[in-house]
Amino acid sequence: MTNPTSKTPKLTHLQRLEAEAIHILREATAESERPAMLYSVGKDSSVLVHLAQKAFYPAKPPFPLVHVDTTWKFSEMYAFRAATAARVGMELIVHQNPECVRRGINPFDHGSAMHTDLWKTEGLRQVIDAHRFDVCFGGARRDEDKARAKERIISVRSPKHQWDPKRQRPELWQLYNVRRSPGETMRAFPISNWTELDIWQYIHLEQIPIVPLYLAAVRPVVNREGTWIMVDDDRFRLREGEVPVQKKVRFRTLGCYPLSGAVESEADTLTGIIQEMLLATTSERQGRLIDFDSAGSMEKKKQEGYF
């Protein structure tokens, strides 16, 4: 963000959030031996990568991007992932849980909970252990749900990657304790204090590339339990008599395509999205089916090591 050049520029809230995130990125990187940035291809990840570029400019960020893949992301996400890695010049590590590949774990046969647990939770543990990453940056935000609202910016995970909400370290001022005992790893969340609106506004102001799926377009979808699910490839299992319809939809959050609900929308520009979001009456994660498996589900997933 370009700064006003008046004598004592007043920082806007976005400039403050940006500066805080850069501070966290530098601090956790400086105090780790093998940092990595978890990259989900979503809009928050796009912002995180942009912030990492700013934090270490003119050098490149001194860590790789790590995508814990499920093979079930939207094809547009895979294209965007490749383009991003090439554009920013950072190493991209893609990990697919080999056990899941072998067993062909998918949301249709195994359900969203098992699918997510094996591909993402287990996959994340595998890639962290394999590369011995000690600090992993993630794009989680405290406004996403109530469990995340209470997590620290620097979050300790046990050698088994578990999060214990009762054993969190106090975080004061801008002092982050990134020190680890043997076997412990850290998750660092530089955009903890950003809201969804902050993210969109920042993407708008900074002209950060995002996956086009966030913008409304005519897409083939089917209605499942009141949510529009996109038929992204021929692996999608249509139910008896189910026929995809062409609807102008967009996605508020992106994950595995059979688990990501789309909303009908005319917003095919960034400002259009922001406008719709601000006038919306439901919260962002509603389109993400995995959080609704059971009460406190995000908290359970975090304890198990999911982001």
């Binding site: 963000m1 370009t2 700064n3 050049t5 004592t8 520029p9 007043k10 920082l11 806007t12 809230h13 400039q15 403050r16 940006e18 500066a19 850069i22 501070h23 530098r26 601090e27 990187t29 400086a30 700013k54 934090a55 270490f56 003119p58 050098a59 490149k60 405290r142 406004d143 109530k146 469990a147 609202a149 209470k150 909400p165 370290r169 106090p170 975080e171 004061l172 001022w173 801008q174 002092l175 304790n177 020190r179 680890r180 005992s181 412990e184 204090n193 609106l197 506004q201 708008h204 102001l205 400002t271 259009g272 601000l278 006038l279 009456t281 919260s283 509603q286 009460a295 406190g296 908290e299």
Partner: protein, 633 residues
């Protein structure tokens, strides 16, 4: 929100432009358990139309299931996120909430009321610019209210709103409100809180949250929302002297050397003179580098990268200051400490101390006093338990740059980290460095090595006598000790045979046991040196490695290796204790010189050739050496 909604619908670009220039207020809510903090914030979000429909639906269903308000909506459930606390009906951690109005964007830390979670309140308070203190109108000012008020004051929050809640349960009585206000004002004066505002509310019923309540017609001040939208977002740090801790030295290539960090005080321009502390190196700012292009000015709060006109040496942990207004540099301090861990503070134990981007070793003296947060009395204390606050002296292993906390939170606030578990165990606020006058006081609470040494009038040291059994080590050591004693030197003689009767009675004569024997003696000798003594150690100590270990346990110049060099034949011929005979007869295994090696010193401080010099003369030579080296006068 309606005007705002219209603008969003009509002209999103205009809205975004306006939203972009909103200011940011971070505030904290605190007070006793059940005072209704979570309910208040939940109500604030609800009244501001900031609760989404799905959240509201969830809230309605949760309220019916576990709510504490009967059929009414339990707004606290909007905030109490963790399953455990939903079940127990209490808040057990800090929850951060985000909302914005037409005028401002807010980050609110909702913190626990329970005493065992006070550390979390301190966490929330450390970044807050304003505090809402909840008081239950039926209960008035309680212990927790005082404790939290004191913390708010201690952590330097400039603006305090005392929200006297549950007015609906006291018949909206002005008398009750005024009585609590008066009681609190008296307390606020004593703890130095300024800018205190009082507001009667009912979080449950929504009185005075976003609109003045007709039931509280006697109150004329701002509503809660008005207060939050207008309280000054004080940029005190912008007015102070320039400060930036170096986080990262950026060297993408040989032509660029940048120092990355976040400005935590004042402002900086290209051409400004700076000083890097603790080294004191000076230079001039060449560029303020960002990915968006070079800046003409950077202010407190911004993350930047600086380059200088000179090739100066600065690294992570250094503090870059305005050259004409540098921070102080010291290694001993007085500080307030808030203890945050179940394991009590251990005075004397080494902890890590992190301040800015610098982490150093620190040891804490026993508290000068502990603060009773009810009476504000200073109580005697040997340690601090979790949630206790005390004033202690700190001693660091290296000097650090700092400002008093009152002047700058970021250069005066620190955390303490346990070296074993790596947990954050305490937080502290630096007030001032201990200088000469204060050092006299320092001796009362943590007498250090220099202090002990200056009292005894000589330096401490180790005289390490090594040599074969029967070489004369103990004889010479005894004479040296007598002479030193006569000179007024505090001494102690550690004799191999004597120590093996006590401390090391569990050890035999294998190589492993010999190593352990010497290791223990070396540690004991080091302790005694720390206590200010001249220690005489008379041990065979056959291995070089262990003697080097003993040397490494004390400072340079404090270790004197004395090789009592007696040929094996001579020692064996003397055989004062009859041991050589036994060894030769095979009755004594692992006897040095017979069936266990003796590694003679390569460069001892003194070599005593017992064949050509008497024990008395050897002792005199040793005393002369101690004089020459300044250990004794």
């Amino acid at each position: 929100m309606d005007d705002e909604s219209n603008l969003i619908a009509r002209d999103i670009e205009a809205y975004l432009e306006r939203h972009q220039h909103k200011t940011l207020l971070r505030f904290i809510t605190c007070g006793s358990v059940d005072d209704g903090k979570s309910t208040l914030i939940g109500r604030l979000l609800y009244e501001s139309h900031l609760v989404f429909e799905d959240h509201l639906a969830q809230l309605k269903s949760d309220s019916a299931k576990v709510g504490t308000q009967g059929t009414d909506m339990d707004f606290a459930l909007l905030l109490d996120g963790l399953t455990a606390e939903r079940e127990q009906g209490i808040t057990i951690d800090v929850a951060y909430r985000f909302f914005s109005t037409e005028r401002r964007k807010f980050i609110v830390a909702d913190t626990p009321g329970h005493e065992q979670y006070t550390r979390n309140m301190v966490t929330g308070a450390s970044t807050a610019e304003a505090a809402i203190l909840m008081v239950d109108a039926r209960k008035g000012v309680l212990t927790q209210t005082r404790r939290h008020s004191y913390l708010v004051s201690l952590l330097g929050i400039r603006h305090v709103l005392v929200a006297i809640n549950k007015m609906d349960l006291v018949g909206y009585s002005q008398e009750i409100f005024s009585a609590i206000e008066q009681e609190y004002r008296d307390f606020a004066v004593r703890i130095g809180l300024q800018n205190v505002t009082f507001l009667p509310v009912s979080a449950l019923k929504g009185d005075n949250i976003t609109a003045l309540s007709p039931l509280l017609a006697w109150y004329q001040g701002p509503t809660l929302m008005e207060y939050l939208e207008t309280v000054p977002v004080g940029d005190d740090t912008a007015q102070s002297a320039f400060r930036m801790s170096v986080q990262w030295v950026n060297r993408p290539n040989l032509d660029f050397r940048g120092f990355a960090g976040r400005v935590v005080g004042g402002s900086i321009h290209p051409g400004d003179a700076i000083r890097v502390l603790p080294a004191g190196t000076t230079s001039t700012v060449k560029r303020i580098v960002t990915m968006d292009g070079d800046l003409e000015v950077a202010v407190a709060g911004q993350s930047i990268t600086l380059t200088f006109t000179d090739e100066i040496d600065a690294s992570r942990g250094d503090l870059i200051c305005a050259a004409d207004s540098p921070a102080e540099v010291a290694d001993q301090f007085e500080a307030h400490i808030v203890w945050m861990h179940e394991d009590e503070m251990l005075p004397g134990r080494p902890y890590w101390l992190k301040i800015g981007t610098r982490t150093v070793g620190a040891s804490i003296a026993p508290p000068k006093y502990r603060v009773d947060v009810n009476s504000l009395d200073h109580l005697a204390a040997n340690t601090l338990q979790m949630n206790e606050i005390g004033v202690c002296n700190l001693s660091l292993d290296r000097p650090i740059p700092f400002d008093p906390y009152e002047a700058n939170r970021d250069t005066g606030g620190f955390i303490l980290i346990d070296k074993l578990t790596q947990n954050t165990v305490g937080a502290g606020l630096l007030h001032f460095a201990l200088r000469r006058a204060h050092n006299i006081h320092w001796q009362d609470v943590a007498v250090n090595r220099e202090a002990r040494s200056s009292m005894s009038g000589h330096k401490p040291g180790v005289l390490w006598f090594t040599g074969l059994s029967g070489s004369g080590k103990s004889t010479i050591a005894n004479i040296v000790e007598s002479k030193l004693h006569a000179l007024g030197v505090r001494t102690y003689l550690l004799d191999g045979d004597n120590v093996r009767h006590g401390l090391n009675r569990d050890l035999g004569f294998t190589d492993a046991d010999r190593v352990e024997n010497i290791r223990r003696v070396a540690e004991v000798a080091a302790l005694m040196v720390d206590a200010g003594l001249v220690v005489l150690v008379a041990f065979i100590s056959p291995f070089r490695a262990e003697r080097e270990l003993a040397r490494s346990r004390v400072e340079d110049g404090e270790f004197f290796e004395i090789f009592v060099d007696t040929p094996l034949a001579v020692a064996e011929a003397r055989d004062v204790k009859g041991l050589y005979a036994k060894a030769r007869a095979g009755q004594l295994k692992n006897f040095t010189g017979i069936d266990s090696p003796y590694e003679a010193p390569e460069s001892p401080e003194i070599r005593v050739d017992t064949a050509s010099i008497s024990s008395e003369a050897a002792a005199d030579a040793i005393i002369d050496l101690l004089r020459a080296r300044g250990t004794i006068r």
